[in-house]
Amino acid sequence: MPTAIVIVPLAAAVACALPYVSRAARPIGVIAGLAVTVLAALSLALNGTVDMRTTWATDLGAGYAVDLDALSATFLMLVGLVFAIGAAASARVASRREYFALWDLLLASLAGLFVARDLLLFVICWDACLIPLVVVIWQWGSGRERRSAATRLLVYELGGSALLLVAILSLAVARGTLDFDGLAARRVPPSGQLLPALLALGAFAVRLGLFPLHGWLPRAYAAAPVPVAMALCGGLAASAAYGIVRVDLTLFPQGMSAAAPVLVALAAVGVLYGAVVATRQDDLRRLIAFANLSQLNLVALALFAATATSLRGAVLASISNGLVIATALLLAAMLARRTSSFALSRAGGLVASTPILAALFGATTLAMIGLPGTSAFAGDVVALAGSYERFPAATATAALGLIAAAAYGLGAMRRAFQGPPLATGMDLRRRERALVAPLLTLIVLLGIAPGLLSDRIPDDALPALEVGR
């Protein structure tokens, strides 16, 4: 099953590239995403992790090792869903063949990243994500900034993964194996963990958007086609959170613990920073990007605090954030289709002509600012409660971001939907509603019963630090 979850999107990518099949590229993309979700859900339900190992580059100790455990499966369910809906939302793209081939390739590399149990395989998949992503933003992005946004994304990410590569090479030299389990069994001695932990974190922190390494993030969100921006938050950001759990916290726990005070402080600043800057944005995509940044830094805060509760919260918050931001971006695109612009200053008074869009957008905004009853609250509050045990001051600072969140969230709603009607448009069509409905349903469902997800993740899947208490 872990191999199948990579093969399916890969096959979809090939199919999309074929001349005749490519007419059905969009359905194929949707099916590939759904297949990933279903396969992941199946493996989660069956609770059977079929892992597979073969040696490959024996000199490095690298091999082909894959596994689909609860943590990977949970994240993959999110990724598959976001990709399915993203593909369905890519209605009008030029050169569909290439676009969807790259789209499925991106999904395949993400799936590989989540099932890899070998560091080299992990890094290959990690970097393989970049190629389709950058090409898609470069070619299909919007605005004059798309080229520079793509370049920045590439340079930032490559800089980060270069550091990760150094950490991995040094591990290979020191331990003679790159298998996760092998490495976890023979960890680097505690005194030497700090450097490799930080090197590996270089890649994860950049992709997650840890303050102040987020320079690529707002531009990429604003320049990418909306489905790709959804993939950025639902796939890429989730993969970074996953990477921190799977690689950094599992292999270098003491190193991460030593660096935690500084990292936690950065993340707490990032939470506030993202929320405050979001209040000044006029471009709806940039506003969502900064809201996303704030949330992702909260995830980072909980990951760095690394208590059992905070890690659970971080996983929940990361998945919830993927869902919520993807929904927000989707609705932003629908809004922009009606006002011909992502600028909030061009919208206004839309509640009169598009009440359903207003209601859905309102619900999503409330989820974005962490209203109880939505998955965002469940994730955030568990993450905060867990982090507070170890870092009360930083966590309390991060909680202040909630105030700014109310300002940007309700401010956006006010500017887009209230006031004198500047723009009018048709309300949401049935097809558009069908795209948003599953995401919103899931957000509310996970907000009321987060146990559906949280109970699936056993305690030993989360590499919590032992905190003396």
Binding site: P355, P372, A406, P450
Partner: protein, 571 residues
Amino acid sequence: MTLLLVVAMPLATSLVITFLGRRLGRRSAGAVLSFGLALAFGAALAIAQAFAAGRTSLDAPIGPWLPLRGADLQLVVSPPIVPLLVTLSAVSALIALAGIGAPADDEGASRFAGALALCTGALLLVVIASDLLLLFAGWELLAVGTYLLVAHRHDRPADAAAGVKASVIARIGDTALLVAILSLFATYRTTDIVEIFQRSGGQPSAPHGTAALAPSLLVVVGALARSAQVPLHVWLPDVTRAPATGSALLQSAVVASGVVVLLRLAPILHPDALASAAAIGAVTALAAAIVALAQRERRALLAWSTISQVGLMFVAAGTGAAFAAAFLLITHAAAKAALTLCGEARGSRVAAFAIASGTLALTAVPPAAGYFSAAALAASLVDRPLLLAAVLAAIPLTGLYAARIPSLSRATGADASASPLGLVPVIVLAVIALSVGGLVATGAVSLGTPAPDVSAVAGLACAALAFAGLVAGLALRARPLGLPRRWVEYARSGFGLDALYRMSLVAAFNGAARILDAGTERLLEEAADRVGRLVVRVAALVNGAHGRYARASEVVVLAAAVGLVLYWTVR
């Protein structure tokens, strides 16, 4: 099960109305709303009956919620909470009923009804949630409902801005409460209120000393924000922008949420924090009464009177006078709902009756309810002279401004007069406002907590002060007092606090946001670009060097590899 109904009915009603949307006409939306809230009230009555029959506690576990200990979906009711539950559900149901007949703009009527139901459900959740996070959830939903009510008229930009302001202030309070919850969770490893009480040994101050003060103070800050107390009261005068029914619900029921939380959490709060809440309440009661006195519009006067009255409830809740707090809350809810609902009605006799009885109920003139609640408060403050003095000063002030209510002008552009159907619930509210005091004082209605003994002196003093205030107000209402106009206008603007906040806090936040957005964000991007350009330049240099020193790049790579191997072996 009945307990679940109390909260679930209003929330379900809100969902139904929202989903049906425009398909529901204005009247049918109002009918569905009234029906749902009436059911909730019925459930609350059933609970009250069970308690009257001798039950001492009732809890309803519904299911697990968050993966934190104690954070389950569970509701609980104890005897002191029952009267609050009944009052708040009754007042909301009556307001909803009045809303059917009340004139409103057709457009968005279902949105409005949904928001009313949401507010009620969330408020009742705050009253009976058994764990802190569920209580917090109720609070946040309440904030959303408040936003929807205040910003209801979407074509008025000022209303929307007021809605955002109210929500941001609510969020300030919520964040304070959330941090308090986090801290309590870190200390007691649970968010269940009863469990925290048990684990703290019933005395939060004893084991942790001043460390327990911080979370308690944060809870108080949250309550201040939600109950519009100084210095976080600036959102309340704006709720008058909501349509009359919304304004009535916000001012009579929703604003009490902070008091409810203080009453519910008092056993686990530090005594010093409670004392500070009482002090702030006293200051608020006096200051807001003076501001109310300076108002020229009935709606604005009522809003400031709400702030002042809730201040008295804070005094009661902060000094542990649960009976007086609940009593004040009940009296004020009924009186303010009646007053706000007919605040806009013209000349009808019924409206005049409602206004007169509401006015009487606000002041402590016997036999209206206000007298009994004020006397109960004064009686429980006998050993706190400062607070007692403040309360005794607030009573004649209340009389002074209340005397002006009937004669004040209505706001311009007010709604047209209410229909007869809408007046029935108003009469009910007015009758409750007049009579509930006697019922409670004679023991016909129990509030679940022991009543303090009201000495004859205290009762007489209250009555005399209130009477003096009322008479003086009636005598002076048509006469200019000869105060400098600047003072009066200063007081009318709420001592300029709103403008002060706008110029200081809001401007500072916006400035900081602008600096971060335009400055730091650009700086970060530029820094990254610089690094990028540097790398390109170095690459070009290396490339140039490559031609001359053929194997330079290989040497660099080799050196790096050797360095790494050395690092791992030597370390």
